[in-house]
């Protein structure tokens, strides 16, 4: 299997998928946000200087001996591509020519045993090590603190990309951590199965990253969150390898799988996961439904989540997002009508798709929905991975664009929605705030916000203030600081509000035990340790 093309410098995704705004959309954005001149930005690596690498003498030759000559890269392109993730702040820093925290080298192990051995060498040399899959973190998960360490390396897991085992009776598959979403789906499709995990980052993010950050896909209503799909996992830790998960469910003490899921490379490196898989769907159907208001549509989604049946995909845009039609760069500014758009998608056998769609239609009609037919659903489906490209196009125009997300129990969602919108509007002034209900559960749902404003002269600080205001609104309204993006460094200071000081202390105790030298992704999740 060939390597995927790495992401272009300071932009999302693959070069050939980039889609500039149409002249009409560009004019509309400039007018709506009052932007006059797009900002200058570094656009290639040649515009940016990299810091001199500094690693203990002998470290690189030692690692080359372990991983082979191709297993260690120190060229500028490799280092730049492994600097940071793809949050708007990450991109703004890169656009400003700042590569100060690029790793000194990139390690490319090919096996779990090499990962384990590489961790031992990093610990012994006190070199900080950032596990790196697809590089799509949007919460600062990949920007390791280097102070106090003898060096900083990225541990690129793309060498681990096998389908290790497929159990067609139990319907489980062991997938190595470095597989990207499409690669994993291709391997499973060849055997007639699907994983069904399709987050917006699907095309570029890795299986290990999905696990380490508790990713949730757009089809979670039908297939479940990634942490729900994991039945077993293997991780390399400085303390030794961990193998967890002998059964679909167990009462053999606390569930340590759930301690590694969401550990963001701070406890160990997940090298493979065994996931639940399903027969590849034979049929699919996507539809749009219009409701008079966002609360009406949310109530309908809640009815489906609590009493069934559930579509495979279920999402509801608020009035602002519905009006803008935020699906693809081409469609920005197109008129998608009033009210709130609900998208329902069905995948499975032909009979199952037909039956569920009919049953859902009965519920939605009863609750005030009007079926708009397949086009709004298919439009959403076509544009489901386009958000990152649209952000690049808008950043080019001088807009500050970012997303944030949360989840709460159903009774809290109205308060949470108002609080976050209000906080962003207060912090940013002239701005556009859009929202959709992105994931549903019996007891609650996830809200996903997209915000756009004209960039100030210091857009990093501008976003920092807005993000802080939004996070405060989330936490004081009873929401979780992240439903599917993770903690990274951007949410780290909010973690005590989420799990308490005692909860943070538990995480630190686990990190101190598993990573006694503290070299694993330092600064992520729990910060400095004790």
């Amino acid at each position: 299997m060939p390597d995927r093309e790495p992401m272009p410098f300071a932009r999302w995704g693959a070069i050939d998928h980039a889609t500039p705004l149409t002249p009409q959309a560009r004019a509309l954005v400039r007018q709506a946000l009052g932007i006059e001149h797009p900002p200058a930005a570094a656009t290639t690596l040649r515009d940016v200087g990299l810091p001199r690498p500094q690693l203990p003498s002998g470290f690189l030759s030692d690692l080359r001996e372990l991983l082979g000559p191709g297993g260690v890269a120190t060229d500028d392109a490799s280092r730049a591509l492994h600097a940071r993730g793809r949050s708007t702040s990450d991109l703004l820093r890169l656009r400003a020519g700042d590569l100060g925290d690029a790793p000194d080298a990139v390690l490319r192990p090919g096996t779990a045993e090499q990962v384990q051995a590489a961790l031992a060498r990093c610990g012994a040399a006190r070199v900080a090590v950032v596990p790196f899959g697809g590089g799509t973190s949007v919460v600062g998960g990949l920007s390791a603190r280097r102070d106090g360490f003898a060096g900083l390396v990225a541990l690129d897991l793309r060498g681990l990309r096998r389908l290790v085992a497929l159990d067609t009776v139990s319907r489980t598959a062991e997938l190595e951590a470095g597989l990207l979403g499409p690669e994993a789906e291709a391997l499973l499709a060849a055997e007639g199965f699907t994983l069904g995990h399709f987050p917006q980052s699907f095309e570029h993010a890795s299986i290990g990253g999905f696990a380490a950050t508790r990713s949730s896909g757009q089809a979670s209503a039908g297939y479940g969150r990634f942490d729900d799909l994991v039945v077993a996992l293997r991780a390399a830790t400085p303390r030794g390898p961990l193998e967890l998960g002998r059964a679909p469910a167990s009462a053999a003490g606390p569930d340590l799988r759930q301690l590694l899921l969401g550990s963001e490379g701070a406890f160990g490196v997940i090298t493979s996961v065994t996931v639940r898989v399903r027969p590849a769907p034979q049929a699919s159907r996507y539809e749009g439904w219009r409701f008079a208001t966002f609360p009406d549509a949310v109530t309908a989604a809640r009815a489906l989540a609590q009493d069934g049946p559930l579509p495979t995909v279920l999402r509801v845009s608020d009035e602002a997002e519905t009006a803008i039609g935020l699906a693809t760069p081409e469609s920005v500014g197109a008129e998608f009508g009033s009210g709130a758009l609900l998208v329902a998608g069905y995948e499975g056998t032909a009979a199952d798709v037909e039956r569920r769609a009919a049953d859902v239609a009965t519920v939605l009609t009863t609750l005030g929905g009007t079926c708009l037919g397949p086009e709004p659903g298919e439009a959403w489906r076509r544009g489901r991975y386009a958000g990152g490209y649209l952000r690049d196009a808008l950043l080019d125009e001088g807009a500050l664009v970012e997303t944030l997300e949360t989840a709460a129990f159903w009774s809290q969602l109205p308060v949470l929605y108002d609080a976050v919108r209000g906080a962003l509007a207060d912090a940013l002034g002239r701005s556009i705030v859009l929202c959709h209900l992105s994931h549903v559960y019996a007891t609650g749902g996830s809200l996903y916000f997209t915000v756009a404003a004209p960039q100030t002269h210091d857009p990093l600080r501008q976003w920092d203030c807005a993000k802080r205001a939004a996070s405060e609104a989330v936490l004081s309204s009873g929401g979780t600081i992240s439903h599917h993006h993770g903690i990274g460094r951007d949410h780290r200071d909010d973690l005590p509000r989420e799990i308490g000081d005692v909860g943070v202390g538990v995480l630190r105790a686990v990190k101190d035990y598993l990573d006694p030298d503290g070299v694993l992704n330092p600064g992520a999740l729990v910060g400095e340790g004790t």
Copy 2:
């Protein structure tokens, strides 16, 4: 709400529910197992001496000041009722008159704050403390090691039994830890809801115990395991209180709820849980189905678990269990026919019950099942909580009777089934081994074994040998050491096989942090700590 009647001495359940064997059943058991004389046994507390209590001076008066005069009990009856759980070994020791590890006193806090304060006093005085709910552990979860401590107390949580909050929009309820199953259901039923958690211990076990041991109910196919139902929890730990769970799902780091679930009182005392609840069912229907063989019936259950629809209750008895009709003490020895009995139960709205039953019937008929109508299903339902009483009756006759359970992925179940049956037969000689598939998931299921043999002169040792052989069979066949009973002390030495030495080290690190004096249920789950 009045206190429930405590369990009778050295027996399961409530006195007035005890059901002796019929003369015919008694004769059959004696003949089948070759028993001539039932053993003598202590049957009341008067037959047994309690050890002198030993607690640091001032400790009891300090606790009485904290909890009130009714909050501390030192009488023999209270101490005896809080000695150990209800495994067969626990009962055999009690029947032999051994109350050597009875606690020195029983603490009865009435609030979470009192629990927190009591833990601080126990830690300061180095008094070991065993959290105690319904007292139904069958894995040695309540027999604390007292060596090295200044004393041993049971912390009875029956004073905490409020429905703290009910959120009818989110369909969640906060239940205090000391509520027994029927009490929690009564409180919810008054509001039109049900929790749906019905393990065999339902009538006597507590909400906190369900959480601390990862209990799974007989209706888990429809309602989910208890750990699936918990969306938030509060725990008192010596390090301070923990409040976990702000949303149905979160990516805010590892899921610490899953670290407290299954912690068996070794990390802290769960004082309340917020659980998913559902509208109380309007209708129910239970049916029996016959398959030619156990593997045929398991294949049918797997089809329902993987492709749906799922009944609310789904269980399959193997040929031996089907032949014996192990439902109620009265029915032992009745002829239930050949093949394997599958019981399917449906609860919900009338329309939902009818539709699911029809859809399931189509699948089961296609896969070779024959519908036996409602009677076998209703018979199972009537006897669903009777197992403990039947065991008492058989112990009275001189039979050694115990159960054990495991779970594994579907592809492993046939090997696991054969291995455990073989190991028990080899270890016990003349014996009866029965099995049912008790819980199903998309990727696997749980096997529940019941074993009976004539007691030797040392039945404790007899069971210990058989249990060791069965556990070895479970672990070497890829099963988990417990699907829903827990670790306690009986499975503790097997835990490294389940989660590895590094996994055990993680649990010890968490315990050392949360319980620095090591006073919480010492010896359970992870043993001594570092």
